[in-house]
Amino acid sequence: MVENHPMEPFLRTDRIPHIWCPGCGIGTTVNAFANAIKKCGISLDKVCIVSGIGCTGRVAGYLNLDSFHTTHGRAVPFATGLKLANPELHVFVFSGDGDLFAIGGNHFIHAARRNIDIKVICVNNFIYGMTGGQLAPTTPLTAKTSTSPYGNKEQPFNLPYLAESSGAKFVARWTTYHVMQLTNAIIKALNKPGFCFIESVSPCPTVYARKNRLGTGLEIMKFFKENTRREKGVSTRDIGIDFQKEFIVGNFVDI
């Protein structure tokens, strides 16, 4: 007998196969999210997911929840409206780094400042995946993208620092290698009232890795494993990500 996949209740199985490439970190992040919801035991009927536009933006379409696939950059204000109009809902925003921090950056900082009780999960793949690999506000210095063919010259955002200084009550960064920690961070966010932010650093083998010759999804996971560390009491100010250098992961803010 074929057993049902444990994630089946969370997925719109009639929409599978999904559009994501093999080795992409979005699916892993979704898996961590679904596990977190499962562990919390909250009613799936009360969980809403709001996405913007992008590869990560498609998350809303695959989860068997009340799910809203909005416009590029606008997931956070849509989620704000949902939550304020019905505070009983658990409202999650799931979107890409470009969506949340370029076109949607202003909404992010204001929702954090207002301490709107929504949980924002950002899949940070350092690039615009959906549109074919253009420069993102998170692209590390010197990294190549299709609109920075000679290497990026712009300072990227350090997302946890931005979230903390905007007022977020819980801030974490993990990678898709750290599935358990990522899941636990989502659980923590769920149980914490107020604006929470989780960065999930993810491989994009198709565009980011290809443009920068970083290998397969698996090789990037290996890089995450070998080049990330935790540092007790570290300030978010000091955890910016440099191109292919070691970086810090952890739960940084938990007020």
């Binding site: 009639d14 009927d45 809303a60 379409g61 704000t80 409206g81 109009a85 809902l89």
Partner: protein, 385 residues
């Protein structure tokens, strides 16, 4: 004002913007998101005072993009939601007005028009956003837009706007202007039980049977609200009856045609016009909003001078009463169309009139209302033609 009372039944002497906020509250608006802008800020200010006392939500967002998007989110959480702004704010909202059309989210958008383009004349008026309301967001669609000409009508039509947006599941524009928005006049607020409220079309089906975009006979699908266990998906992408994205020309045709036809098939229900002195009219003045108030005395003057002229006022600007104009064009000498822009609704009149050379535009670039003489001269010109 008894702050905790929802419907402030009685006779009031209030500003148009305040009447608009009260109309919204009377019909059950319990969510307002906006960003300050002259000449619409008074609506937000009134909402900020009233909503908290009524258990509703007021939020000043970081910009108009956020305002309209929060309105859509609130609408999906079951709220009756509204935003109010002026031309520059609408310009920012447009992409997400399209999202509202595509997701079929009931909501009301008030545009207190000012002089334009760009920052234009913040404190002075215009009517130059009429085509923006109709065509502003990208793609093919139909929209509903109502044009009040007094504070009383701002009250009444805001109620009507909410009801139409619930009935047809489409964002509805209230297209007023800085004169009407800032003018203070008598407004009668009826008894609570006399206010018509069109309820949200919540589904009666179980989650198993329910398809979020399966239309009823009038082409409008039943709705749900987040958290009720239906676990729906909705998207700005072209979608099927399940709400799932389908990237094909067939699905596009089915969806876009339905979004258009649900309005076009119900024109009689949506279109409101006010006709005056039309029975024997040979010249018809077509106007809307504040301009219609300059038209009435002008028509009287022309009548006194023996000209058979009537007034045809657009209370609904969109959808446009094209069929009615076509019929009229068969029996009248011509039309005079004064508007505070350089020719917007006049294009619709020309398009539907049997002979477009019978249409005389009386343009005005904004910042003032028409000198009645300019309208009078146009009436005389058409009468003599």
């Amino acid at each position: 004002m008894e702050k905790e009372k929802r419907v402030l039944t009685g006779e009031h002497f209030i500003q148009g913007d305040i009447a608009c906020a009260e109309g919204a509250i009377s019909v059950g608006c319990n969510f307002f998101a906006g960003y300050p802008i002259t000449p619409a800020s008074e609506i937000a200010e009134r909402m900020s005072e009233r909503q908290p006392c009524l258990g509703g939500t007021f939020i000043q967002m970081e910009d108009e993009i956020a305002s309209i998007t929060a309105v859509l989110g609130a609408s999906w959480a079951g709220a009756k939601a509204m935003t109010a702004t002026s031309g520059p704010g609408i310009a920012l909202m447009l992409e997400n007005i399209g999202l509202g059309i595509m997701m079929e989210s009931p909501c009301v958008i008030v545009n207190v028009q000012r002089g334009s383009p760009s920052t234009g004349l913040p404190t002075l008026w215009g009517q130059a956003d009429m085509m923006q309301a109709r065509w502003g967001t990208h793609g093919d669609y139909r929209i509903i837009a109502l044009c009040p000409n007094s504070p009383q009508e701002l009250y009444d039509l805001t109620i009507k706007g909410f009801n139409l947006s619930e009935k047809y599941r489409v964002p509805v524009f209230i297209m007023t202007d800085a004169v009407v928005g800032h003018m203070t006049e008598k407004v009668i607020i009826p008894k609570e039980e006399d206010i018509e409220i069109y309820p949200r079309r919540y589904t009666t089906l179980s989650p198993k049977e329910y398809l979020p975009y399966k239309p009823e006979a009038d082409l409008v699908p039943q709705i749900i609200k987040a958290g009720d266990g239906y676990r729906i998906h909705t998207t700005g992408l072209t979608h099927d009856e399940r709400g799932y994205p389908v990237m094909s020309a067939e699905c596009q045709k089915k969806l876009v045609s339905r979004l258009i036809d649900k309005i076009l098939n119900n024109l009689d229900d949506i279109i409101i016009v006010e006709e005056k002195d039309m029975d024997d009219a040979e010249v018809v003045v077509i106007s809307y909003g504040i301009t219609s108030r300059v038209v009435i005395p002008t028509i009287q003057k022309a009548r006194e001078n023996g000209i058979k002229v009537g007034s045809f006022r657009l209370i609904t600007a969109w959808p446009f009463p094209g069929e009615k104009i076509r019929e009229l064009s068969e029996r009248v000498k011509g039309f005079v169309v004064p508007e505070i822009n350089c020719g917007q609704m006049v294009r619709e009149v020309e398009r539907h009139s049997k002979c477009s050379d019978k249409v005389e535009l009386v343009p005005h670039t904004g910042g003032d209302i028409h000198d009645p003489d300019t309208i009078y001269e146009a009436i005389m010109k058409v009468a003599k033609s």
